[in-house]
Symmetry: C2
Subunit: 203 residues, 2 copies
């Protein structure tokens, strides 16, 4: 019995049962081990769930960084973001994060632990947005910090509403809309800012 | 002991303890009554929580309809929406909805019940957006259905992330950003470009 196996059982349980159903007993049943092992290795259910978030973040952060590094326009950013998000939604990663956030609402300590884990993701979004608007008329006016928080919020909120629908198609449709808004903004502000001027980096 | 008192205790409990802590025992303790009364009057905890959502929706729907009726531009819509949302966030209404959504992720029946209750809100958002863009260049190009879903998602997602912060200021700051985007779109599409020239759609 390794810690890794407990973490995998926790991930599987929160995806399938939500935070409400992610008791030590349920996680142990998913993994086929004695629930005492959770407390022996992690001390508490919250700690194994946080370790699950860490595993998930480590896996995905590298992929996001790689794909976002070359993005230089808002529509491009939305397209890449939508594709990565679709993968994470399909694999249940977004469910894990949204369920953890919901479960932390009455726990200041769990909230603090999650804030530490969300900060690098909001920073990643901020950097990508800053690169996408660099050299455009939006660079000076768009508050990149707030936009990064809004995008992260939208990612979590879509998951919550998406599972109400049987076909889960509306969540993806949202990105079509956001991309359209990005294209509208670019087309209105566009020709005056050639792409060559865009390489000056984030603000 | 009335049903109304049980509903109020359920609302109070889910705001304070989240969906994870909203057991029959916890609701009964909040209201100072025997938990058997919940099952006598409602049959299940889910049913009393759904009745709590109904009460909350009925109270707020009238206020939203009244304030949104006169809105005729995107920046105006964002300003009014931000003010109403701030009230709902402060009073814990958004917390109740986000927690219910999170709690329904593993229950198809609860998801179905919540879908019925979210549909009028998404319809309300759709109507308000449609009125705000009527007669502008955006009327023909913005998919109002998807935008309404996106706005509702954003409202839920902000609540999830907002409680990570001690000061809860970032959630409100998001609306400043959204309003700015709305103003940018309006100013680019505004007086200098007659609406008739813009009907060809995005690049």
């Amino acid at each position: 019995m390794t810690k890794a196996r407990i973490i995998d059982a926790a991930l599987e349980t929160i995806k399938r049962e939500g935070i409400v159903g992610s008791s030590a007993r349920a996680i142990a049943r998913t993994g086929g081990f004695n629930q005492a092992l959770i407390f022996y290795h992690f001390g508490s259910v919250d700690e194994v769930l946080l370790a699950a978030v860490d595993k998930l973040s480590a896996t995905r952060m590298a992929s996001y960084e790689q794909h976002l590094a070359g993005v230089r326009s808002l529509p491009e950013l939305v397209a890449v973001g939508a594709r990565l998000y679709a993968e994470d939604l399909r694999d249940g990663h977004i469910t894990v994060l949204a369920q953890m956030l919901a479960g932390s609402s009455s726990s200041p300590e769990l909230s603090r632990q999650l804030r530490e884990r969300f900060t690098p993701w909001i920073d990643l979004a901020r950097g990508a947005i800053a690169r996408a608007v660099a050299g455009t008329p939006f660079e000076q006016v768009l508050p990149v910090d707030d936009l990064a928080f809004a995008v992260t919020s939208l990612f979590m909120g879509i998951e919550l509403l998406d599972h109400l629908d049987d076909d889960r198609a509306r969540g993806q449709a949202v990105f079509g809309t956001v991309e359209l808004v990005a294209r509208l903004m670019e087309s209105f502000a566009g020709p005056s800012a050639p792409a060559g001027d865009r390489q000056t980096g984030p603000a």
